[in-house]
Symmetry: C2
Amino acid sequence: MFSKACEYAIRATLYLATKTGQGEKAGLKDIATQIDSPEAFTAKILQQLVKSEIVVSVKGPSGGFGIDADKLNAITLQHIVNAIDGDAIYVGCGLGLKVCSEKNPCPVHNQFKAIREGLRKMLETTTIDELAKGLKTGIAFLK
Amino acid sequence: MFSKACEYAIRATLYLATKTGQGEKAGLKDIATQIDSPEAFTAKILQQLVKSEIVVSVKGPSGGFGIDADKLNAITLQHIVNAIDGDAIYVGCGLGLKVCSEKNPCPVHNQFKAIREGLRKMLETTTIDELAKGLKTGIAFLK
DNA sequence: TTAATAGCGGACATTTTTATCCGATATTAA
DNA sequence: TTAATATCGGATAAAAATGTCCGCTATTAA
């Protein structure tokens, strides 16, 4: 469904969300260990999330990555997916046609529309704050 | 959503479906031109579809690819997707976790379940026969 | 001020996906 | 039987995604 990079991004953000109630930070090594991802690759992805202003970073000793407390309930899955994979998922034709629209639909256009719309709505309405709660209460797990 | 290979497979099968009412065949060159795909790559994909018994092939002059008339309304999108991409789409965790289930769900498990289920149902219930009708009547287009 | 720490950024390596090439094989028609 | 045609199958190549390495810079604490 998503790229590996995007999966790591969601996992990293969720982990940070559980750490970032009291302004705590998590270092790269810690994050990669906790979400079971390749460290160097995860660093690249975190940099993208920093540029997209989803997470913040602090250099030097006792530095690391974190999420601003006031942003916690504003960040949705859509923000993360869009930052890493762009809008490729719910834009463009399901059959890869360059021209495909309501006026000029591919054979599967209508079949895909409903699925896409459901996906879009889910990504836009699911906040990481909400998902992180499941982690904190031990209902869901990151590895 | 799907791999390029899978997109070509669906397009090729749909094109063949429009040609295969009266046992007509279409050659590789014709198919690649009509669905606007790379010829050699399309050949590989057609071979996979032959092995999966979705299309049939005949060698030699006046040979080509076709679909058995009695199979036309039995082939669903799911058959094609499964033949090319396997079951990766609606199997496995949305966050790429090795262990993720009802008992041990990842944070997005339930959010993804509904989307996946919708996709699965759509792929399983949509026949190429039905889609090909739209092509024949000029409602939908392959390029 | 200095040494240690941790993120930044660019180059490089690996793997997977996408795509091409070409000889071999089977089939048909003359 | 021969020549032309069209798929088959293996090797190879290009592109994209995934992943690594290493020196640089900023920051903190001693």
